[in-house]
């Protein structure tokens, strides 16, 4: 077993994991936005919830406050925010991989 090689590889993986975590923290914040007096995190969970309903419904926001939203209009907004930020995340992630 080439332990030197193993250690070097493990260290690189550690650094890369730390950089990925930093990137994730940044984009977790960017998924958050305000709508209809509530605070929301754009992502698959919210999109799925909205897809399950039609018309005007009441759902809980990040602060567990019930908020009335129009599902169709809100779905479009959530999807747009989610994909915008994921695209930006992808660009940074690819740059990170290139640098390392």
């Amino acid at each position: 077993m080439d332990t030197e090689n193993l250690i070097a590889h493990a260290r690189t993986r550690f650094d890369h994991a730390a950089a990925r975590r930093t990137l994730k923290e940044k984009y977790q914040a960017k998924f958050i936005f305000a709508h209809a007096g509530g605070m929301w995190q754009a992502g698959p969970e919210l999109l799925t919830t909205l897809k399950c309903c039609t018309g005007t419904v009441v759902i809980l926001d990040l602060y567990e406050t019930p908020v009335q939203v129009n599902t169709e209009e809100f779905y479009e907004q959530v999807l747009q925010r989610w994909q915008e930020q994921l695209n930006a995340w992808l660009v940074e992630y690819e740059a990170l991989n290139k640098n390392r």
Partner: protein
């Protein structure tokens, strides 16, 4: 509804906080589109001494943050530390929140080198710490009580320090805020926070500015290897000296 930002700043022997606040005010105007008032601290208040690893012991003029409620002319106010770098419009989100008061519950080290577990709690009983670095409040009974409570804690600091088994002699706004939030919320530890963590950069890392809203952090990682990351986001620069140099270069 009127909205604005308050930055408390008073220079000490080592750090030009006023210049830092003026620079931050320009960033706030550019990214958030709101006016900023810089509050030069009340000189009649007693001062603390606080140690920073990059500049050593300095006089800590930071005792009047709880006056933010009475000093603010706005319906909704963002209170920021002078060393909080606004490099995006992220804070717009909390200005739209239907909440009376928000602050960060969690902070983390951007480089991943330091575990902030010890900084996210305080005292022997590991009380949850709320960071006073970024606070948002709207004019309300709830917010007013939080600030009044902070004032009561500051004025009776030795009592509250003993009560919460806090070994830190120096008064800190973060600790006063944490205690105040507990009291005002009926000791439930149930308070709405800013829904993301406070990105922080500790003083041992090297911070430089790449361009207007891009920064580079050079650091030695846990395996003792030099690494760097680039930041294009808001963050709390705990290294006052390096931020001071960036501000000086921008003046």
């Amino acid at each position: 509804m009127t909205v604005g930002a308050l930055i408390f700043a008073r220079n000490n022997e080592q750090i030009d906080y006023v210049a830092m606040a003026q620079w931050s005010a320009r960033n706030i105007e550019r990214h958030l589109g709101i006016p900023t008032h810089i509050v030069s601290a009340d000189t009649s208040l007693p001062n603390n001494t606080r140690h920073f690893s990059d500049v050593g012991n300095v006089t800590w003029h930071n005792l009047n943050r709880m006056d933010a409620y009475t000093l603010s002319p706005w319906d909704r106010t963002l209170v920021l530390d002078a060393d909080y770098v606004v490099a995006s419009d992220q804070l717009k989100v909390i200005l739209e929140a239907d909440q009376d008061f928000l602050a960060h519950r969690w902070a983390y080290d951007i480089t991943g080198c330091n575990n902030f577990q010890g900084l996210n709690y305080f005292g022997d009983n590991s009380m949850p710490m709320w960071w006073a670095t970024v606070m948002m409040f709207r004019r309300s009974k709830h917010a007013e009580l939080i600030f009044k409570c902070m004032k009561m804690i500051r004025d009776n600091w030795s009592h509250y320090r003993a009560l919460y088994k806090n070994s830190t002699i120096t008064y800190r706004n973060d600790h006063a805020l944490s205690i105040a939030l507990g009291i005002v919320n009926g000791h439930t530890l149930d308070h709405a926070g800013i829904p993301w963590e406070l990105a922080s950069l500790t003083p041992e890392h090297m911070l430089t500015q790449v361009d207007q809203d891009r920064y580079r952090v050079d650091f030695i990682n846990t395996e003792n290897r030099p690494r760097w990351i680039e930041l294009q986001q808001d963050f709390h620069a705990m290294g006052k000296q390096q931020l001071g140099e960036i501000v000086a270069n921008n003046s």
